[in-house]
C-alpha cells in the first residue's frame, strides 16, 4: 500500500467533485453567516445552497456514461451512482427551497450547511465502492441529521426526536460497523465487489457479517421492525428535514444495498442469506400502510407511508435481476418526487413552528387553494398508484419483477398493501375536498415563491417520469 497516493489521478477528484462542491458550499454558507447581517445571511445561504446543488447536479450529469473506479475502488463512478447522486441532489434542492417557510426566525445558514453536509454524505454513499467509504458517507449523513432533527431547540418534540435518532441510529451504525469488521475478517478485503469468494462460497463468518451489516442498512431504510424510530423522528424534525430524510437518506442506503446485493453476494446461493431482508420488506408494506391508516398528522402519515414505499423498492431487488434494478431505480425516482411534492405542500401549509400539520388543517383546502389541493391530490394519487401516474407504472414494474424472479409473495403483498394505501391517501384527499364552514388555520403566505417552485418542480418531475417510463440502460449499470 506504500506510495498509494501517487496513483491518485485528477480523475479521482473529478469523480468526487459533485460531493465536494456541495460539502464546500456548506462552509461558505457558514462564513456568510459570520460576515453578513442576519437578514441578508438567511437568503444568501439558501441561494448558495440552491446554486451549489444545481451546479453539482449539472457536473454529475456530465460524468454520466463514464465508468471509473476512483481512489482504488473506494468511490465508484458508474450509471447507478450518478442516478442516485442526482436523486439526492434534487431532494436537497427541494429541501432548501422549503426552508423559506412562513414565520422564518431561526438561523438559516446553520440549516443550510447541515443539509448540504448530509447531502454530501448521501452522495458518497451512493458511489461507495468500499465498506470504508460507505461507513464514512453514512456517518457524515447521520451526524448532520442528528443536529437537524433537534435544531428547533425550543420544541420538546424536536429534542425528543434528535435524542431518539442519535441513540437508535448509533446502535444501528454499531451493527453496521461490526458487520463490516466480520466481513473483512472473512474475506480480507473492504472493496464491496471483491467480497464475493466464488471458490469458498458463503462461509459462516461471511454470512454472519453480511447479516449484521444488512441490519444497519435496514435501519437507515426504516424497514420493519427497524422502522420504529421513523414516525417519532419524522414528527419531531422540521418539515423540510423530514422531507430530506424520507428521500435522500433512503436513496443513499438503497444505493448501498443494491450494490451489495448485486455485486457482493454470490447470487444463486444468496437466497437464504437475503431472505430476512425481503421478509422485512414484506412486513414494511403491511405495517407501513396499516400504521398510516390510523394517523391524523400528515408527517406521521407520510412517515408510515415511507416505510411501506421503501418495502416496495427493496422488493424489486429480490433475485437481483436487471429488470429488478431498473424497476427499483424508476420507482425510487418516482417516489422521490411524489413524496417530496407531498412534503412541499405540507411545508407550505405549516409554519416554522410546525403548526398546521394535523389533517384537520387540510379540510376545505380545495376551496381556498385549488391549485395546491390539486397538486397534493396528484401526489397522493401517484403514491397510491392510481393508473396513468408514475406510481402505478412503478408498481406494475416491481410486480412483474417479483413474478419473474419467483418472489411472487412479495408482489402479492405489494398489491394488498396498495389496496390498503388507497384508503390512507384518500383520507388526505377527502379532507381537502370536504366542505367546511370556517377555516380555523392560518393562511398560506410564504415569504417567497421558493416553496411554490418546489411544488411545481416535483409535479413536473412526476409528470415527466409518467411519460418517460423507460430508464436509459446505463442508469442501472454496475461496475463490478
Amino acid at each position: 500500500m506504500g506510495g498509494y497516493l501517487q496513483y491518485v489521478q485528477t480523475l479521482d477528484y473529478q469523480a468526487l467533485l459533485p460531493a465536494m462542491i456541495v460539502g464546500g458550499t456548506a462552509v461558505i454558507a457558514l462564513l456568510a453567516d459570520l460576515l453578513l447581517p442576519r437578514r441578508i445571511a438567511n437568503g444568501t445561504a439558501i441561494l448558495l445552497g440552491v446554486m451549489a446543488t444545481i451546479m453539482a447536479g449539472l457536473y454529475a450529469s456530465l460524468s454520466y456514461g463514464v465508468h471509473y473506479l476512483a481512489f482504488g475502488g473506494g468511490f465508484v463512478l458508474d450509471g447507478l451512482s450518478v442516478v442516485f447522486q442526482e436523486i439526492v441532489l434534487l431532494s436537497t434542492l427541494v429541501t432548501l427551497m422549503l426552508f423559506n417557510r412562513r414565520g422564518v426566525s431561526e438561523d438559516r445558514p446553520a440549516y443550510v450547511a447541515l443539509v448540504l453536509w448530509s447531502s454530501t454524505g448521501a452522495m458518497i454513499m451512493a458511489g461507495a465502492g468500499s465498506l470504508m467509504t460507505l461507513f464514512l458517507g453514512l456517518e457524515i449523513l447521520s451526524l448532520s441529521l442528528y443536529c437537524l432533527c433537534a435544531i428547533a431547540r425550543d420544541r420538546e418534540v424536536a429534542k425528543e426526536a434528535g435524542f431518539k435518532y442519535l441513540v437508535l441510529s448509533s446502535t444501528a451504525s454499531g451493527f453496521l460497523l461490526y458487520g463490516m469488521a466480520l466481513l473483512f475478517g472473512a474475506t480480507g478485503t473492504v472493496t464491496i465487489s471483491a467480497l464475493i469468494h466464488p471458490a469458498t462460497g458463503i462461509h459462516g463468518l461471511y454470512a454472519l457479517g453480511m447479516g449484521i451489516f444488512l441490519i444497519g442498512l435496514a435501519f437507515k431504510l426504516a424497514l420493519v421492525p427497524f422502522h420504529i424510530w421513523a414516525p417519532d423522528v419524522y414528527e419531531g424534525a422540521p418539515l423540510p428535514v423530514t422531507a430530506f430524510m424520507s428521500v435522500a437518506t433512503k436513496a443513499g442506503a438503497l444505493a448501498a444495498l443494491a450494490r451489495v446485493i448485486y455485486t457482493a453476494i454470490p447470487q444463486p446461493d444468496a437466497h437464504w442469506l437475503l431472505l430476512p431482508t425481503f421478509i422485512f420488506a414484506a412486513a414494511s408494506m403491511l405495517v407501513g400502510n396499516l400504521g398510516a391508516l390510523a394517523q391524523t398528522d400528515i408527517k406521521r402519515l407520510l412517515a408510515y407511508s415511507a416505510v411501506a414505499q421503501a418495502g416496495y423498492i427493496v422488493a424489486a431487488l429480490a433475485g437481483a435481476t436487471e429488470l429488478g434494478i431498473r424497476s427499483a431505480v424508476y420507482y425510487l425516482a418516482a417516489y422521490a418526487f411524489m413524496n417530496l411534492g407531498a412534503f412541499a405542500v405540507a411545508a407550505l401549509l405549516s409554519s416554522d413552528r410546525e403548526e398546521g400539520t394535523q389533517l384537520v388543517a387540510y379540510e376545505g383546502l380545495a376551496a381556498r387553494q385549488p391549485l395546491l389541493a390539486a397538486a397534493m391530490t396528484f401526489f397522493m394519487l401517484s403514491l397510491a398508484g392510481m393508473p396513468i401516474t408514475a406510481g402505478f407504472l412503478g408498481k406494475i414494474f416491481i410486480l412483474s419483477t417479483t413474478i419473474h424472479t419467483g418472489y411472487w409473495p412479495l408482489g402479492a403483498l405489494l398489491v394488498i398493501g396498495s389496496a390498503v394505501s388507497f384508503y390512507v391517501y384518500f383520507k388526505v384527499i377527502r379532507a381537502m375536498y370536504a366542505r367546511v364552514e370556517r377555516f380555523s388555520h392560518p393562511e398560506v403566505r410564504p415569504p417567497s415563491q421558493l416553496p411554490w417552485i418546489a411544488v411545481a418542480i416535483c409535479a413536473v418531475a412526476v409528470i415527466v417520469l409518467t411519460f418517460v417510463p423507460v430508464m436509459p440502460g446505463d442508469a442501472t449499470f454496475f461496475v463490478k
Partner: protein, 630 residues
C-alpha cells in the same frame, strides 16, 4: 382497421371534453346558452358516431387508433368495434336527448353552466371507458365516471342528503375500483401486457386460479358500478341528484358499465367458469331483490331506481350465463325505456313543484298527456308486453339462461318479471288514474324555455321504447351483429326445453298477466280508485319492516365493514403506533386515573429503550436465523 387521416374516434372522444372545458371556462359569459352549447357538442359527437358506422359495419375487428406507447406492454389507443359502437350510440344518442331535456329541467338553476359542464365531462368519461383499447384507460374512464357521478349526485350542495348520497356512491365505487386495479395488476403480471388484444389472445394460457382471481376482481368493479348485490345501496340514494342525471348516469349509461365490462372481458370469464357462475347468480339475485324492494317504494324516483337495479340484474345474469349478446340487447332497450321513465317522472316532478311521492299524485293522465303516453309505452316495455322492446330483450335473456343450462336462474328471472309487472303497473295506476290527491295545484310558472324542449325527448324515447327491440328482428339481429366479438360462443347450441315460445314466452306472459292483474285489482278498478287516498296510507303502514328497511342492508354493511374498520384502525393505532395511543387514548384516560397516568409516564420515559429493544430483537432474530440455516 387503422383509421384514416380524419380520425373519427378521436373526434368523438374529444368533443365532449372540449365542450366541458369551454363551458366551465366561459360559464358566466354563456349564461342561458351553456345548455344549447352542451347539446350541440353531444349532438356532434352523435353524428360522429354515426359516421363511424360504415367502418364498423365493414370491419369485424373495428376501428383502432393507436395513440402512443406508454411503457413496454402498455400502448394507449381507442377502439371502436361493434360492442363499443353499441354503447357509443346510447351514450351520445340518448345522452343528446337527455341534454336537450336538461335545458328545460335545469332552467333558472343557480349553477346551470356548471351542471352542463359536468354533464359533458361525464359523457367524455363514459366514452373513455368504452373506447379504451386497454385496461389502464378502461380504469381511467371507470374512475372518471365515478367522479362525474359524485359531482352530479351532490350537485345541489345545499342539500345535506345529496352530499351524503354522493359520498356514499363514491366510497362504494372506490371498493370496486380497487377490485379492478387488483385485476389489472394480476393481468399484467400474468400476460405482460394490458391491451385487450394481447390479453384476450393469451387468455387460454392463463393459470386457472389466477384467471378466477382476475375475473372476481373485475366483478367487484362491475358490482359496485352497476349497483349489484352486495354493493347496491348507493343507487337509490343517488336519486338525490337532478332527474336528468338519474336518467343519463343512473339508468341509461354509467350503471351499465358493469355489463360492458363483463361482455368486454368475456374471454377471461370463459376461462374462469367459477367466477362466471358467480356473475350469473349475482345478476339473478339482484334482479329479484331489486324487484322486491320496488314493491315497497312510494317515491317515484326510488321505484325507478330499484327497477333499474333489477333490470341491470337481468343484463348481468345474461352475460353471466354466457349469453353476452342477449345481455347487451337488454342494455340497449333498457337505455330507452328507463331513460324515458325517468324523464317522464321528471316532467311530473317539475310540474308538481318537486313532489315525488306517488301517493300524492293521481289523475295526471289528462294534465300531462305527453308524460303519460310516453311513460305508458316505457312501462309496457319494462314489464314485457309483447312486441314492445323490453319484451324482446327480457325474453332473450330469460330464455338464454335456460338454453345455457341454468333453470334456477330462469325461475328467478320469471319471478322478478311478475314482481316488475306488479309494481310498475301499480305505479302507473296510482300516478295517472283516479283523481289528484296532492295539496298543491301545480302552479309551475313556465319560463322562456318552450314545453317541447322537455316534451320532445320524452316522446322520442317513448317511441324508442316501443320500436327499438325490433332491431333484433327478423332473426337474432344482435347476436349476428356481435358475432365477430363473441365468436359465436354466446349462442346456445340447440333449442332447449321445447323452444323459446313454450319455455319462456308463455311463462313470462303469465307472469305479466298475474303481476299486472293483481295491481289492477288493487289499484286500477273504479272502486279501488275511489277510496285510494285512505287505502294508500293504510297499506304503506302495513308493509313489512324488513322490506321497508331494505333488508337492513345498510345496517348490515355498517356492522360488517364500517364498525370493524374503525376498530381495526384503533387496533393498528394500539399495536403499531404506541405514540398515537399516548396522544389520543391514554392521555384522556390518564387525566382521570392517576395511577394509570403514572404507569404510562414510566413506560414513556423508557420509550427509547423500548425502541432499542425492538431493534435488538430484530437483530437477534437475524443472527439466530443465520446460525440455524447455516
Amino acid at each position: 382497421m387503422e383509421s384514416s387521416v380524419i380520425s373519427w374516434p378521436l373526434i368523438v372522444w374529444l368533443l365532449p371534453i372540449a365542450g366541458a372545458v369551454a363551458i366551465w371556462a366561459c360559464g358566466p359569459l354563456l349564461r342561458r346558452f351553456a345548455g344549447p352549447l352542451a347539446c350541440a357538442v353531444i349532438g356532434a359527437a352523435f353524428v360522429g358516431t354515426l359516421a363511424l358506422w360504415p367502418a364498423v359495419a365493414a370491419q369485424p375487428a373495428g376501428v383502432h387508433v393507436t395513440m402512443f406507447t406508454w411503457a413496454p406492454g402498455i400502448t394507449v389507443g381507442l377502439l371502436v368495434d361493434r360492442l363499443s359502437f353499441i354503447w357509443l350510440t346510447i351514450i351520445t344518442g340518448v345522452g343528446f336527448l337527455i341534454h336537450v331535456y336538461a335545458i328545460g329541467y335545469m332552467e333558472g338553476d343557480r349553477a346551470e353552466a356548471r351542471f352542463f359542464a359536468y354533464l359533458n365531462f361525464f359523457i367524455f368519461a363514459m366514452l373513455t371507458l368504452v373506447m379504451a383499447d386497454n385496461f389502464v384507460f378502461l380504469l381511467v374512464g371507470w374512475g372518471l365516471v365515478g367522479l362525474a357521478s359524485f359531482w352530479l349526485i351532490g350537485f345541489w350542495i345545499e342539500r345535506p342528503i345529496a352530499v351524503e348520497a354522493a359520498r356514499k356512491a363514491f366510497v362504494m365505487n372506490v371498493v370496486g375500483d380497487v377490485g379492478i386495479m387488483l385485476a389489472i395488476f394480476a393481468l399484467f403480471a400474468t400476460f405482460g401486457s394490458l391491451s385487450y388484444a394481447d390479453v384476450f389472445a393469451k387468455a387460454a394460457q392463463g393459470p386457472g386460479p389466477v384467471m378466477t382471481l382476475i375475473a372476481l376482481g373485475l366483478l367487484a368493479g362491475a358490482c359496485a358500478k352497476s349497483a349489484q348485490l352486495p354493493l347496491h345501496t348507493w343507487l337509490p340514494d343517488a336519486m338525490e341528484g337532478p332527474t336528468p342525471v338519474s336518467a343519463l348516469i343512473h339508468a341509461a349509461t354509467m350503471v351499465t358499465a358493469g355489463v360492458y365490462l363483463v361482455a368486454r372481458c368475456w374471454p377471461i370469464y370463459q376461462h374462469a367458469p367459477g367466477a362466471m357462475e358467480t356473475v350469473g347468480v349475482i345478476g339473478a339475485l339482484t334482479a329479484l331483490a331489486g324487484a322486491v324492494l320496488g314493491v315497497v317504494q312510494w317515491d317515484i324516483k326510488r321505484i325507478l331506481a330499484y327497477s333499474t337495479m333489477s333490470q341491470i340484474g337481468y343484463m348481468i345474469m345474461g352475460v353471466g350465463v354466457g349469453a353476452y349478446s342477449a345481455g347487451v340487447l337488454h342494455f340497449y332497450t333498457h337505455a330507452f325505456f328507463k331513460a324515458c321513465l325517468f324523464l317522464a317522472s321528471g316532467v311530473i316532478i317539475h310540474n308538481l313543484a318537486g313532489e315525488q311521492d306517488v301517493r300524492k299524485m293521481g289523475g295526471l293522465a289528462k294534465r300531462m298527456p305527453v308524460a303519460f303516453w310516453s311513460m305508458l309505452a316505457a312501462t309496457c316495455a319494462i314489464i314485457g308486453v309483447p312486441l314492445f322492446s323490453g319484451w324482446v330483450s327480457k325474453d332473450a335473456v330469460v330464455y338464454q339462461t335456460l338454453a345455457h343450462g341454468h333453470p334456477v336462474l330462469w325461475l328467478l328471472g320469471v319471478a322478478a318479471a311478475a314482481l316488475t309487472a306488479y309494481y310498475m303497473s301499480r305505479m302507473m295506476w296510482v300516478t295517472f288514474a283516479g283523481s289528484f290527491r296532492g295539496d298543491e295545484h301545480g302552479a309551475h310558472a313556465h319560463g322562456h324555455v318552450p314545453a317541447w324542449v322537455m316534451g320532445l325527448p320524452v316522446a322520442l324515447l317513448g317511441a324508442g321504447s316501443v320500436v327499438i327491440g325490433w332491431l333484433n328482428w327478423p332473426h337474432e339481429g344482435f347476436a349476428e351483429f356481435l358475432a365477430p366479438i363473441f365468436g359465436g360462443t354466446d349462442v346456445a347450441p340447440a333449442a332447449a326445453w321445447g323452444g323459446e315460445f313454450l319455455s319462456t314466452q308463455i311463462p313470462l306472459f303469465i307472469a305479466l298477466i298475474v303481476g299486472a292483474g293483481i295491481a289492477y285489482l288493487q289499484y286500477g278498478t273504479a272502486g279501488a280508485l275511489a277510496q285510494a287516498p285512505a287505502r294508500l296510507e293504510r297499506e304503506a303502514a302495513a308493509q313489512p319492516a324488513f322490506l321497508v328497511k331494505l333488508y337492513y342492508w345498510n345496517e348490515l354493511l355498517d356492522a360488517l365493514f364500517v364498525t370493524p374498520a374503525r376498530a381495526l384502525a384503533a387496533l393498528c393505532a394500539r399495536i403499531i403506533d404506541p405514540k398515537l395511543i399516548d396522544a389520543v387514548l391514554v392521555r384522556d384516560v390518564a387525566t382521570d386515573a392517576g395511577v394509570l397516568g403514572l404507569l404510562f409516564r414510566r413506560w414513556q420515559s423508557g420509550l427509547v429503550r423500548t425502541y432499542a429493544l425492538t431493534l435488538l430483537c430484530g437483530a437477534a432474530a437475524i443472527i439466530v436465523y443465520i446460525a440455524v440455516v447455516r
